[in-house]
Amino acid sequence: MDRTDLNVIPNTPSITPELVAEHGLKPDEYQRFVELIGREPTITELGIVSAMWNEHCSYKSSKVWLRTLPTKGERVIQGPGENAGVVDIGDGQAVVFKMESHNHPSFIEPYQGAGTGVGGILRDVFTMGARPVAALNALRFGDPHHPRTRRLLAGVVAGIGGYGNSFGVPTVGGSVGFHERYNGNILVNAMAVGLAKTDEIFYAAAAGVGRSIVYLGSKTGRDGIHGATMASAEFGADAEEKRPTVQVGDPFAEKLLLEACLEIMQAGCVVAIQDMGAAGLTCSAVEMGAKGDLGVELDLNAVPCRETGMSAYEMMLSESQERMLMVIADGKEEQAEAIFRKWGLDFAVIGKTTDTLRFVVKHNGEVMADLPIKELGDEAPEYYRPFTETAPRPVLGPSDVTHAVSVADALEQLIASPDLCSKRWVWEQYDHLILGNTVQRPGGDAAVVRVGEGPKALAMTSDVTPRYCEADPFEGGKQAVAEAWRNLTAVGATPIAVTDNLNFGNPEKPEIMGQVVGCVKGIGAACEALDFPVVSGNVSLYNETNGQGILPTPTIGGVGLIDDLEQSMSLAFKAAGEAIFVVGK
């Protein structure tokens, strides 16, 4: 047998407990799946369910808590559950935004990992029909003196700049912090903000039976296919060479994808659209069908591939970047294709919608998977994981503080601390001016970006103080929201909505789960009190090294609206001799 020909892998090996474990499924989860489909799955089906039911896609550990967040408001057009949140800002315009993490890939390959993180979140925003107008990020690194920190920091910052600058979106804000608990697990959270017309928002739900499902963008390779050491054994010693664990980003392709997508949306070609993120083809196709109460049938022979001999399993789980899936309006295929060809991108009809509510995947004329589409999403396991509340820390009095330094020394130490020092070195590597609307640049409380020709503008910020969350998750969660709120109001904006990125350790540990629960409750309480709904977000769990979790880091991305730039404020003193006030408690 020619071991390099991956097509020869049989679709029906016997599914051993090891194989199941390698796919990250617990025995009871696998049992649930077998009962659901009433037979033993094929290997492709096992891959599909492992992608759909993993923590990343299914939010199985956090869902019960995310549901407690306030997500509605007068302005909210679309809350959590789509590619990004959508909020009305008047005059028929909407702001579309979301935040997402790319922690692990950035630790392995900082430049590409951070870059593809930015690419992913930009796609989430323009998938909704919005043109990205700003990007932000929140970064956490290990001890500044740790040998890896310097290269990780340099690589991540260059990667964020490398992608965003080339794509052509101004990166206007963010935060950078250091702590030894991130030594083995850095955080890279990227946020994107876009503008759309309220009556031209695009959603993932497919509609209409028998419509073409179209694949767009870059070709599919064997990028980031998880799981299977089974597969490596099968593929021989060069498996690592064949299956890159880190994707290389192509911001150039993404820029073309943006222009092409917005152009075919304008041309009325699009019924539904979904970007291919994690477990690309699987998640996007299942979501489009499930949300639209339709079945989906794919023919993988039509999928544009970068490599020869890719198996169904690989195509379904590939995480190649800069790809989209769409349902095209009847009779619009040719027009859509012409637009994509003009931009030099791949375009292929790879399937159709059906009325069977089944997810059917064919390859070389053979059915590789045939699964109930709704259940794949809806019946994912959901856990109410046991948790222990974080014990409150004793309140310190002035006499408990022994480390006495002079005020001057203390000030010097504060200014010199990497957490507080100027981050100019970072944001000068981001093009924060492109598009010509950046009214307040990085370095202030919140960035301000003009909407069109003004006078309206958006304010945006990302905030969290992990050591507060560690000391008291509930108060820390509240504080992060409050800080975002204050940063927005400080530039004269009315805070309108929030996105979040919940970064924690292993939720199977009760004390970590206690942090998750505490922080979410705190965020919820603050958002409720401030009428500051959560419209999108992302959860990143299992951020641990050698058994120790990161500091609990629920990043809050806040967006505010300025009706008239004339009323906006910046932090610089404007003239000598003016009175200075302190406001608040």
Partner: protein, 80 residues
């Protein structure tokens, strides 16, 4: 002693640069180009004459800095 280190992307890793160059060569009408992959080359001048030591040092340089072995492979060559 002169050495050359060649760092290339692993074969299954996407090479956006190579892809763009491939397209450009085609549209310039250069005949017969089927695929292009781009890599880096480092021409290194080393002290001494101990080839084995130099090779060791360069491998170390590659692992530590010149290549990210998650996505790249490298090769060390010596000028004859």
């Amino acid at each position: 002693m002169k050495a050359r280190v060649i760092v290339t992307l692993k074969s299954a890793v996407l090479d956006p640069q190579g892809k763009a160059i491939e397209g450009a060569l085609r549209s310039l009408g250069v005949a017969g180009v089927q695929s292009v992959r781009q890599g880096k080359v480092f021409d290194v001048e080393l002290a001494g004459n101990d080839k084995a030591a130099a090779e060791g040092a360069l491998k170390e340089a590659c692992d530590k800095l010149l290549a990210n072995t998650v996505i790249e492979t490298y090769r060390v060559e010596f000028a004859e």
